[in-house]
């Protein structure tokens, strides 16, 4: 056998969006502010996934301002409406939609006043990127002017939104139920190189196709896929929290081994959009699901390369080599 053997494997996956087997909810407040800027308040903040940027895009789109003109308020149980927790692949779906609803209400307040002031049907009003205009007219003002006009008429353009996802609990006997209203699916292909002297596996390529409903920030979606893939790769090949009679053995990062820049495959993301029909934005989510297919795709690829099936994670060099030797022994016996 050559020292370096290559192979490919595939794995598919599915996942549910937002809290499981329960009703999920999130609230938000929005205000079109002086200077044509906007304030959005909701009870959740960034855990790194890019939610603040995404919310600013949603608010900008809904209100007709620029994302950088949107201020997202601090996440504070005493100052902002409840949006529940930052997890469960629910940020885009739950908070994104509640912010969209809040912004729609704020914009409706503004548009009502402008339509009356301009004496045009409200349906003809449009706003985007800091401007507000009436279709088929030459009426066009900045959002700064629009907010000032609205306030001069005695109205502060504010809105609130609450978004609900309807999941149901599982039956305690047979488990039947509808845990989520939105599902996503994903498939990944892995290409690996196995070193048959050491058992070391290098993952050289990942092709990751994931349905996200609608990609509000495609680069952000890719970032979530890439991060999920590398966490999946870590679990596939090296990460292993160990205890001995309850005492941690892997105390720090010298013993608990994480992927570094040298372990990362080229990740080729393919974003698939199957919009969610039950929500204003049509977006679903990607945070968690991107991790799922990586480890099985890598194990299937290792099998393709050397014919050894790894059933117990992680596939450390030692385990891979042992599996390879086991296979050779078995082959020798049957031969």
């Amino acid at each position: 056998m050559k020292r370096k053997m290559r192979g490919r494997g595939v794995a598919a996956s599915w996942y549910g969006i937002a809290r499981t087997a329960t009703i999920d909810r999130a609230g938000a407040w929005a205000e079109l502010d002086d200077g044509g800027t906007a304030k959005v308040l909701t009870g959740v903040t960034e855990i790194g996934e890019g939610i603040l940027t995404l919310l600013s895009q949603v608010a900008a789109e809904e209100l007709g301002v620029k994302p950088e003109q949107v201020t997202i308020g601090d996440n504070d149980t005493a100052r902002s409406p409840e949006a529940a927790h930052a997890g469960a692949t629910r940020q885009t779906y739950m908070i994104g939609n509640s912010v969209a609803l809040a912004c729609r209400e704020a914009k409706a307040r503004l548009f009502d006043e402008i339509a009356q002031a301009w004496e045009v049907p409200v349906e003809d009003l449009r706003s985007f990127d800091g401007f507000l205009w009436a279709e088929s007219t030459n009426k066009r003002i900045t959002m700064e002017e629009a907010v000032a006009l609205c306030k001069k008429r005695g109205v502060v353009p504010v809105g609130s939104g609450s978004f609900t996802a309807h999941g149901t609990g599982l039956d305690p006997v047979d488990g039947h139920g509808s845990p989520w209203q939105a599902y996503v699916f994903g498939t990944q292909v892995a290409e690996v190189e196995v070193d048959t002297i050491t058992g070391e596996v290098q993952v050289l390529g990942i092709w990751a196709a994931h349905d996200v409903g609608r990609a509000i920030n495609p680069r952000g979606v890719e970032g979530q896929i890439e991060g999920g893939v590398v966490q999946g790769l870590g679990q596939a090949l090296m990460e292993d929290y160990q205890t001995s009679e309850g005492h941690p053995v892997t105390h720090g990062f010298a013993k608990y081994i994480l992927p570094t820049s040298l372990d990362v495959p080229q990740i080729n993301s393919v974003i698939v959009e199957d919009p969610d029909p039950l929500s204003p934005l049509g977006a679903k989510g990607i945070g968690e699901p991107s991790l799922i297919p990586t480890a099985p795709a890598v194990m299937n690829a290792i099998y393709d390369a050397i014919g050894a099936r790894i059933r117990d994670l992680p596939a450390t060099p030692e385990r891979v080599l042992a599996a390879l030797h086991e296979k050779r022994r078995a082959d020798a016996q049957t031969a």
Binding site: V10, R219, E239, F253
Partner: protein
């Protein structure tokens, strides 16, 4: 204490300081000079969040005694550019979305800057090697590499500076690559995480943790610790005024051990003092008498009759069992032409967010008990804390500080209660920052799993029945275990329509480090088994792995494992997208790697052979030889 006199230049300014001789360069920068863009991710030189330039070379400041910096010139992330400006490297990070949680990012920017200073023409392999000492847990590094290559080319003048500009849009901000709003504060190190925040009069907390996996506590004597000068208060479970207990599904965990400890690293008592060092000294003066109890370390042992009981309310040690039944598996297996039986296991996994747990608590002018921390679930935390400290909800306030990575690991209220109690007891703001080791031993992990799998198929590859049984080790406390088992069960058999299933997922208590929420919440463990089975079946049936998946995939109108009818299912589209993108060569998964023609394409990376900087040089020489 004898002091050390240091005289050095930091970010262009001459600094003289008298410091503790035990100081590391990192302590000098963060604690004395308030340069908190330099982070402490591990304290052991393993992560690179603390990288700084010393006389032009990049070092890990947690590994450098402060004395070694005497007379040197230091450059930190704050010194790379003037306030309000960003370097090309920082702008490129902003452009590509290279920062997510941002905690590793100052170190990453420093490492990227160093790589390009050392070799402005470095190729990607060399860049990766030069950045190999910096860990990122969020991004998968890919956008970081992209940023460094753009920055390199802009600095070299081979790419116009406009390459760093934001993308424009004329029609919509939905679907637009809007640059991250939080990136400038992250790439410049300006963003303050909880551990970077300070308040007037702030005390420092340290926690005494259990050295035993399972033991009764017969006595805790805090008097010596309380008497130590500089100590403001010591707290134990006796300081809890309300109903103690937190958790996501079952409130089985006390703020600090009550009567017994159930895992190594469980909080037993905590000290708030003027300095971390005093608080640490004081924890060693707390006398705890333990009576060790027999421990449970294996989930299968936990289910045996007569096994030690970890929680009185659960005499069988079962935290949760989730059953799914659909159709009739006996009929399904009877119709099968191939039956495969296998066992799979997955390990406990650490979240390893680069920001260790940290927080500040204080009682405000309106008697509102306030906790600032990178909590992933402030809504639920305030509910639980209000019960624990016996105050109305509006007198409890949680503020979510920027989260330096969570992945589910910051959903559990494992330290915020201690902070609140000590702020209430001392009347002062109190800050706690975990060490990396503390974070690893005290926070929940991904549930390890053992899965027995039996799958029946027709020779056409249609699945006729699945029997799936997963046992998981929940560790000492319930945390998110119930939800994780539920999700594992719901997702168990993957995106395939199976008429006859019997699925059981069970999680038990042991005296191991607790398991809790972790990105995919049980979905990964279950589907690792399913997707391995699919390939094993495909090999036996001589089917291409995409084909066997298509023959079983869910469609609009399919009934899921929980008998929900789907309105749509995009599995067909993602299968096709992955197959096309990867230029997949069809064929059964029968160890055909050696004969494939779809390998080594332009969309793969080269295998890492260390030494890119001299390998590349040799490669150039060889190329020159060939050319001549």
């Amino acid at each position: 204490m004898p002091e050390l006199e240091l005289d050095l230049t930091v970010n262009g300014r001459r600094i003289t300081r008298h410091v503790d001789p035990s100081y590391r360069l990192l302590d000098l920068l963060r604690d004395d000079l308030a340069l908190t863009g330099t982070k402490e991710g591990c304290g052991a030189g393993e992560c690179g969040t603390c990288s700084v330039f010393v006389d032009g070379k990049l070092f890990k400041s947690c590994l450098m005694p402060a004395s070694k910096a005497q007379g040197t010139t230091i450059e930190t992330i704050e010194g790379l550019s003037r306030p309000g400006e960003l370097t090309p490297v920082q702008r490129a990070f902003h452009k590509t979305g290279a920062s997510q949680c941002g905690y590793c990012i100052p170190g990453m920017v420093m490492a990227a800057t160093s790589a390009l200073r050392e070799n402005p023409a470095a190729g990607i392999e060399e860049i990766k090697e030069r950045m190999g000492g910096n860990i990122c847990r969020c991004t998968g590094y890919t956008k970081i590499f992209e940023a460094v290559e753009i920055a390199r080319d802009v600095i070299a003048g081979t790419l116009p500076e406009t390459a760093l500009n934001p993308e424009l849009t004329k029609t919509s901000y939905i679907g637009h690559n809007t640059r991250r709003l939080d990136a400038p504060s992250k790439v410049s190190g300006r963003l303050k995480y909880a551990g970077d925040m300070e308040m007037q009069g702030m005390l420092h907390m340290q926690v005494l943790r259990s050295p035993h996996a399972h033991a009764r506590i017969s006595r805790i004597d805090t008097s010596k610790a309380e008497a130590l000068p500089g100590v403001h208060c010591v707290i134990t479970c006796d300081d809890v005024p309300g109903e103690d207990g937190f958790g996501v599904f079952v409130h089985d965990q006390p703020i600090m051990a009550r009567g017994k400890v159930r895992h190594v690293g469980e909080a037993v008592a905590a000290v708030a003092a003027d300095t971390v060092r005093i608080a640490r000294e004081a924890t060693k003066l707390i006398a705890v008498e333990y009576e060790p109890l027999p421990g449970l370390y294996d989930p299968e042992e936990a289910l045996r009759p007569g096994a030690p009981v970890i929680h009185d309310y659960a005499a069988d040690n079962v935290v949760k069992h989730i059953p799914l039944r659909k159709g009739d598996i006996e009929t399904g297996f009877a119709a099968a032409e191939l039956i495969i039986e296998e066992r799979f296991s997955t390990q406990q996994v650490e979240h390893a967010y680069l920001e260790p747990e940290a927080g500040i608590a204080y009682v405000d002018h309106d008697d509102v008990v306030t906790v600032i921390s990178p909590s992933q679930n402030i809504t639920h935390h305030r509910h639980m804390l209000s019960t624990i400290i016996d105050k109305p909800i509006n007198k409890v306030r949680f503020i979510m500080s920027p989260v330096g990575g969570g992945f589910g690991g910051k959903e559990d209220m494992i330290y915020q209660g201690m902070l609140a109690l000590s702020a209430m007891k001392s009347g002062r703001p109190v800050r706690l920052v975990f060490t990396r080791e503390e974070s690893i031993m005290a926070s929940a992990k991904r549930h390890p799993s053992r899965t027995s799998y039996r799958m029946g198929l027709t020779k056409e590859g249609r699945i006729t029945a699945v029997e799936f049984s997963m046992l998981s080790d929940g560790g000492a406390y319930g945390m998110s275990s119930e939800g994780v088992m539920r999700k594992a069960a719901i997702l168990s058999c993957g995106p395939y329509e199976v008429e006859n299933i019997k699925v059981d997922t069970t999680v038990v208590y042991t005296n191991n480090t607790p398991s809790g929420a972790f990105r995919t919440f049980g979905g990964m463990q279950a589907q690792f088994a399913t997707e391995s089975m699919m390939d094993m079946a495909a090999e036996k049936l001589g089917l291409d792995p995409f084909e066997i998946r298509r023959r079983n995939m869910m469609k609009a109108g399919s009934r899921t494992h929980t008998q929900q009818t789907l309105n749509s299912a995009s599995i067909d589209r993602v299968l096709e997208a992955a197959e096309t993108a990867s230029r997949w060569e069809a064929g059964p998964p029968n160890v055909r790697g050696a004969n494939r023609s779809d390998l080594d394409g332009p969309d793969t990376r080269q295998p890492c052979t260390l030494g890119a900087r001299f390998n590349e040089a040799r490669h150039q020489i060889e190329k020159a030889k060939v050319a001549s």
